[in-house]
């Protein structure tokens, strides 16, 4: 069979020990170059060796532990998903499109890293692999056609014990198995495994290295006498049409993902932690620090929770839920009825609270359960060795959540317990200090705290764009005084929305079924496309750019600025 990227065979592409932490290995399979790296959590990533942005090899990039950073523009890609989490040229934007590098299947087994050019075939260990303790030899790159290398290996066998040719360019010679990694049409790597640990490991390694070196030299002399085969042409797949233009604003409606509650625990007094994982053990979608998910609750409500995860940490999402007596059946349902092993639907992560990583000073201020997105931010900053200060305010020390997670961070973490309102204000003013260039503050906590920090920061000269916060509840006073018409394009009807009534209510009265949840412009459930007319946004769900795009509306609170609005419903 001619060598090609349609070959579904799993080949070894590296030794396990080729992948120390914080290193990027440069590999190649069937003409396609690979950037291979081990994350701090041990996971091995096999990606196309090319940043999607400008085609620069990722093998010259930096393995930051849980993210790979491209050397050209500092784009960061997450462990496992290969999703882009940060574009430094636009530090205030959460990457709105799903930019993901090409990745290939990977398996670590028998001291080798295995991959395939495509996903067409599941991994299966080679014949006779099981039940042995395999000892990997030093890999031997050979500048010769892979099929010639296989033949050369087979000729190493003594006459009375012929070599056993295994599928997938492998040769068994007595107690050793040699795999030929087809690097390119004229290049290969011999990767050998010995069955069982040799008595004298160094002697065995030296011996086989010598044998393979001699074989390599013979094969290369033979290859030099033949015309060199044409290298395989790597195919650079096209990106999606969505990625090919500069981003317009696209509000992701996102699919729901089914997750299982892997762990539920009391993180602190009044704070319950939930660890949510994919049912089949796959990794979850890429997220950026500050992101939240919608959780669809068993009682039909939808609630938003921030992710606390660090970079490239996609095996599960961890959220913190406040145990509230006054809860309207949202958090209460989660806390009281959802158990470990239960299945929930969640949205893909969405980010209205993006973290800039271009600050000279980053101040994170958390009040109570507001610690959750800031914990995620602190973890990202921590991994990138960026400085930050985290101030965590709670009423009692028993209420300090995620303590062990905070303890392992290297930044300056201050816990402020039991301060009164005025003391908190004074502390915040002291912490912030007068505004200086490229300082940024991030606040998450109760609405009153958000307002207090904003006012305090403003008074100290902090401009709006340096003060970042996110609402989970819409505390704004809704102005419902306008009256206008809505034309429902797909339903072919025009309705009048009088003052004091919402678009959502008016549509329902006319017999339409419209999904909704919080009905206060915070959850995003009633998001509707806008075709014509200017929107009077009153929600806290859409971000500034999305609002400015005038392409969507939250019908539960927002209204028309003019006499008429055409909706895509």
């Amino acid at each position: 069979m001619p060598l090609s990227l349609s070959d579904p065979t799993w080949y070894p592409i590296a030794s396990s020990e080729d992948l120390p932490f914080r290193h990027v290995y440069q590999g190649q399979l069937l003409g396609r170059e690979l950037a291979v790296w081990r994350a701090d959590d041990g996971n091995v990533n096999v990606w196309e060796n090319r940043c999607l942005h400008r085609g620069v090899r990722l093998s010259i990039g930096i393995n930051e532990g849980q993210e790979l950073k491209c050397q050209y523009h500092g784009w960061r890609y997450a462990n496992q998903s290969a999703g882009c989490t940060y574009i430094p040229a636009h530090p205030a934007d959460a990457p709105s499109r799903r930019i993901e590098n090409r990745k290939y299947p990977v398996r670590e087994a028998f001291g080798l890293i295995w991959s395939a050019a495509n996903d067409d075939q599941p991994f299966a260990p080679f014949d006779g692999a099981q039940g042995e303790d395999w000892f990997p030899l030093r890999p031997m790159p050979v500048d010769a056609a892979p099929e010639d290398v296989v033949a050369g290996l087979a000729r190493l066998a003594p006459d009375d014990q012929p070599a056993d040719l295994l599928p997938g360019m492998a040769v068994r010679l007595g107690a050793a198995v040699f795999f030929v990694q087809p690097v390119d049409a004229g290049r290969a790597v011999i990767r050998g495994l010995l069955a069982g640990q040799p008595h004298d490991a160094m002697a065995a390694l030296r011996h086989h290295n010598e044998t393979l070196t001699k074989l390599r030299d013979r094969l290369e002399r033979a290859a030099a006498r033949k015309p060199a085969p044409e290298p395989l042409q790597p195919v650079f797949e096209k990106v999606s049409a969505e990625l090919s233009t500069m981003p317009d604003i696209a509000v992701p409606r996102g699919n729901t993902i089914t997750v299982v509650v892997k762990r539920k625990w009391k993180s602190a007094e009044g704070v319950i932690g939930f660890e949510l994982a994919d049912r089949d053990g796959r990794y979850l979608p890429t997220f950026q620090p500050g992101a939240h998910i919608d959780v669809h609750l068993p009682n039909g409500l939808v609630r938003q929770y921030s992710l606390t995860n660090g970079p490239g940490d996609l095996n599960s999402y961890v959220i913190g839920v406040k145990q509230e007596s006054a809860s309207k059946g949202g958090s209460k349902v989660l806390v009281e009825t959802v158990r470990e092993g239960d299945v929930l639907a969640i949205s893909e992560p969405r980010n209205n609270f993006p973290l800039r990583r271009d600050a000279t000073r980053t101040v994170l201020i958390a009040g109570g359960i507001g610690i959750t997105p800031l914990l995620s931010m602190a973890r990202f900053l921590d991994k990138s060795s960026l400085k930050y200060e985290l101030h965590y305010f709670t009423r009692q020390s028993e209420r300090l959540a995620f303590s062990s997670e905070l303890d392992v961070l290297h930044g300056s973490i201050d816990r402020h317990v039991g301060l009164g309102r005025e003391a908190i204000t004074a502390k915040v003013a002291e912490v912030l200090g007068p505004y200086q260039f490229a300082n940024h503050v991030y606040i998450c906590g109760p609405g009153t705290m958000l307002e207090m920090v904003q006012q305090t920061a403003s008074a100290l000269g902090w401009p709006d764009e340096a003060i970042h916060f996110e609402y989970f509840q819409n505390d704004k006073v809704i102005d419902a005084s306008s009256a206008f018409d809505v034309e429902l394009a797909r339903s072919a009807m025009t309705l009048h929305v009088p003052a004091g009534r919402t678009i959502l209510e008016t549509m329902r009265e006319a017999g339409l079924t419209v999904p909704s949840s919080c009905e206060q412009g915070a959850c995003g459930t009633c998001l509707t496309g806008v075709i014509e007319g200017e929107v009077d946004h009153q929600d806290v769900y859409l971000n500034k750019t999305e609002k400015a795009s005038n392409t969507c509306i939250m019908t539960c609170v927002s209204r028309a600025k003019g006499p008429r609005l055409v909706l895509d419903i």
Binding site: R54, V56, A89
Partner: protein, 298 residues
């Protein structure tokens, strides 16, 4: 067998050498559009170019004896030639003629990448903190602010203005980061010129040009020009600075794939900061340039 260059590329003036680095009475050879060309200078100092016939490199020659010559002109300290029918004019850099400027070549450096990839890198600001760390940029100041790009119909060039970037040491005396402003021109498919605020005289701008000699579709030679308002630095100092910058870009460019610049918008993933690159790619497409690029499938 390399393909013949497109007619637009064939008829362009192409840079081939820094004129006063060409030896008088000796042959030097180089590649242009896959053709080997020979160069020398006569005793009058004027460059002469012709299509090389064999192993001419290093030989002595009397330029008077070269009959079948390629058209030649000298501009901005460099020798330019053309393998087709050249247009009368080369793009203007009026500042070059200002009497108090220090004009200099900074070396002609071969790079394993197409000429258009090198132009695009020259237009790019987002890489400053990562590639020119602590010189043209440094983390955390990584933002590329909105800037303006237009394709000037009148001058047939791409023009990016109001390009601002925070630089750690924009001026020798600077102790804190300050924002510098750039203007970029692409007046030729394989040449670009930038104007940068000048530390010595606020009303004027330093000019840095990069002229790419397309040797093959996937290799080129970068000829660097500096035209500076600088009364204190030596030429060696100024060259060293520019070579340091270019030497940092080199490994990036040589690790870029594919080597040719892809013009199909779906080949790579642009962001807002890449506005000038997008305009440049479209401009090349509209001109019908196919040399050194992967044209958009029609």
């Amino acid at each position: 067998m390399p393909k013949a260059p497109d007619p637009i590329t064939r008829d362009l003036w192409h840079v081939v050498a820094a004129t006063n680095e060409l030896p008088i009475g000796q042959i030097e050879t180089t590649l242009l559009l896959d053709r080997r060309i020979a160069l020398t200078r006569g005793i009058d100092g004027e460059p002469v170019a012709w299509l090389a016939t064999g192993e001419e490199n290093g030989d002595e020659i009397d330029s008077e004896t070269v009959l079948d010559r390629l058209p030649v002109r000298t501009a901005y300290g460099y020798t330019w030639t053309c393998l087709g029918t050249p247009s009368a004019e080369l793009f203007p850099i009026p500042e070059f003629a200002e009497p108090d400027r220090v004009n200099m070549s900074c070396g002609s450096i071969g790079i394993h990448v197409s000429a258009p990839r090198a132009v695009e890198n020259f237009l790019d600001m987002g890489h400053f903190p990562y590639v020119h760390t602590d010189i043209l940029g440094s983390e955390p100041h990584t933002e590329v602010k909105e800037y303006d790009v237009e394709v000037s119909e009148e001058r047939d060039e791409v023009l990016a203005t109001k390009c601002k970037f925070m630089q750690p040491r924009a001026a020798k005396s600077a102790t804190t980061a300050m924002e510098v402003e750039y203007v970029y021109r692409v007046p030729h498919p394989f040449c670009s010129v930038l104007y940068k605020s000048c530390p010595e005289d606020e009303s004027r701008r330093d000019v840095i040009g990069i002229f790419l000699q397309p040797m093959t579709e996937e290799t080129c030679r970068a000829h660097l020009l500096q035209s500076m308002i600088d009364s204190t630095s030596t030429i060696t100092d100024l060259r060293r600075f520019q070579q340091t910058i270019f030497g940092q870009d080199k490994p990036i460019l040589e690790n870029q794939y594919p080597k040719k610049l892809p013009l199909d918008p779906r080949s790579e993933t642009p962001i807002r900061a890449d506005k000038s690159a997008i305009a440049y790619r479209r401009w090349l497409s509209q001109k019908g340039i196919t040399y050194g690029v992967i044209p958009q499938a029609s």
